[in-house]
């Protein structure tokens, strides 16, 4: 393949795919439902936010719709979490990255160890949500009137209400951090809207993912040419991850 065919950004940099269309569609549908859930949920959470019930068409509609949107949100989350699980497992370099959080925050990226498709901060967001979202579903169903709450003993509903509020707090705090990170790291929002990032961005922020990607390309090319292919980077990968 000739290089000229490769998609380039406005600065002339070559691009690569970070999120396929299915992930992008899922992500933004999920984001919209999360915002609606957070706004309507906060409205019941504290009187200061009660006016937010109007985002769902008034207090009664907010009460009715919130749990249904919650179920949609949960299903979308399960799909996206399952397909990204393998990129969110802990690797050796992550600990070094965490220890150098000062460099991360002061934008001294050149001092950071190479990490994979997601950095430890992103992994933390992932795991906070993996814990809080199923908890929100289970506790939300227990609180859900008029459909389900009647089947549960009142002390359990009390516990569920407390845990739902706590889990919602964790989830909303996590998402605030998540949104800020997207604003902070230029290029990330386009990665999720259009799917691609510059190859320089990939190498700079997620070196191991970039190297994997290049190796994968090489394998595909060799396969196309010889009918078989071996990963040139397999050995290097293992070293970074052991």
């Amino acid at each position: 393949m000739k290089h000229d065919e490769v998609k380039r950004n406005q600065r002339g940099q070559r691009m690569m795919l970070r999120y396929p269309a299915s992930t992008r569609i899922n992500h933004w549908t999920m984001a919209a439902s999360f915002i609606l859930l957070a706004l309507s949920g906060l409205a019941f959470f504290h009187p200061a936010f009660f006016f937010l019930t109007h985002t769902l068409g008034g207090p009664v509609w907010a009460r009715i719709l919130h749990p249904f949107i919650g179920v949609v949100f949960f299903l979308l989350f399960v799909a996206i979490a399952a397909s990204n699980l393998r990129y969110n497992l802990w690797i050796k370099n992550d600990l070094r990255w965490v220890r150098q959080i000062g460099d991360v925050l002061t934008n001294h990226d050149e001092r950071l160890p190479p990490i994979g498709k997601f950095n430890p901060g992103q992994k933390l967001v992932f795991w906070c949500l993996v814990i809080s979202v199923p908890l929100l579903l289970v506790t939300g169903v227990i609180m859900w009137r008029p459909w389900f709450a009647g089947y549960f003993p009142i002390p359990l509903i009390r516990l569920a209400s407390l845990l739902h509020a706590l889990a919602a707090f964790v989830a909303i705090a996590t998402i605030i951090v998540h949104i800020y990170a997207a604003i902070w790291v230029k290029g990330s929002i386009r990665a999720m809207t259009r799917g691609w990032v510059s190859r320089a961005w990939a190498k700079h922020h997620h070196p191991l993912w970039y190297e994997d990607h290049v190796d994968q390309d090489l394998v595909e090319q060799r396969k196309a040419r010889d009918g078989q292919g071996e990963r040139p980077g397999a050995e290097r990968d293992l070293k970074a991850r052991e």
């Binding site: 200061a48 925050l105 800020y180 320089a200 922020h205 090489l218």
Partner: protein, 319 residues
């Protein structure tokens, strides 16, 4: 009927509710369980005055009918056949319904501003037009009283006939009771009445007779005289030491303003970080790959073959 000038507590409200009248006398209903004959006249009077009709249900083999409180049955008689230590049968009949707690768990839990109010006279009233049907009042109530209607998803319970009381009448159940088992008046007067009844019961051999006015909820505006005040659980599970559950306290207490503040601070910290440290800008090719760009880098790390291996992301997507 709400009296909008005499409100001491208002659900989901952080400012002072309207309370122009000072020194409003607290009222109370006194139910002397020892005098109740289980005729259910009060149930009928409640239906009649409030103009509510429950569906005809089933008889479950006991005298409990209806078998539970519903959005249409704000009071029910609960019958217990109790064999006392002497081996005698005691038929304990308790009129169940809202206790009009001084510290109402329902009001504490309700997220809808003004859907539950407590008047200066102590009556806890539901303003159902403001109710959103979430059921938090059911979760908050220590006595399992409020019921959400299956028809309109609003919460209902005994109003202590707040409409009658506000014009100087006693509640409908009090007016109708043929044995004088239910009395109504100022809370002070009712406590004096109750003390007399307790003395009387004690004189007749009920050593443990007493007043049920549980301190855990700040006292109630519906009180019982019980022959076995030491064991309120005998009376169809009347809680011995009712209080707003610690779980509800934790759910509705300081945690909420605290969590709200943390969320605000988190967002603010992001803003401060952005304007002080700034964003991570998109890296340039030379910065990341060196002077010869990505091709040079790929050639150096993987050889000539790799340098020519870059797939178009648009094609990748089709894979």
């Amino acid at each position: 009927m709400t009296n909008p000038q005499n409100i001491v507590r208002r659900s989901a409200t952080t400012t002072t509710p309207p309370r122009v009248r000072e020194e409003v006398e607290e009222v109370a209903k006194l139910i002397d369980v020892s005098k109740c004959i289980g005729c259910k006249a009060c149930q009928v009077a409640c239906m009649e005055w409030n103009d509510i009709r429950d569906e005809v249900g089933i008889v479950d083999g006991t005298y409990n009918n209806p078998t539970d409180l519903t959005e249409h049955s704000w009071t029910v008689m609960r019958f217990t056949e109790h064999e006392n230590p002497a081996g005698d049968l005691e038929w304990l009949i308790r009129k169940d319904g809202c206790m009009h707690c001084a510290e109402p768990g329902c009001l504490e839990a309700c997220p809808a501003p003004g859907a539950i109010v407590q008047y200066a006279n102590g009556i806890v009233d539901f303003d159902s037009d403001k109710c959103i049907g979430c059921g938090y009042c059911v979760t908050g109530c220590p006595f399992d009283i409020p019921r959400i209607s299956k028809h309109d998803s609003k919460s209902y319970k005994c109003t202590l006939c707040s409409d009658r009381v506000s014009v100087g009448l006693e509640p409908a159940c009090v007016k109708t009771c043929p044995t004088g088992c239910i009395e109504f008046g100022s809370k002070d007067a009712m406590l004096i009445r109750a003390a007399k009844r307790v003395d009387d019961l004690k004189a007749r051999g009920f050593d443990q007779a007493g007043i049920y006015d549980p301190a855990g909820v700040g006292g109630t505006h519906v009180m019982y005289v019980l022959h076995h005040a030491d064991e309120p659980g005998l009376y169809a599970g009347l809680p011995k030491d009712p209080r707003i559950s610690p779980l509800v306290g934790a759910w509705k207490g300081v945690t909420k303003p605290l969590m709200s503040a943390i969320l605000g601070i988190t967002a603010f910290a992001g803003f401060i970080h952005y304007v002080t440290k700034g964003p991570k800008e998109e890296p340039a090719d030379e910065e990341v790959f060196g002077a010869e760009g990505e091709e040079g880098y790929l050639r150096d790390t993987r050889g000539e073959e790799a340098a020519a291996t870059v797939r178009d992301p648009a094609k990748e997507e089709e894979r």
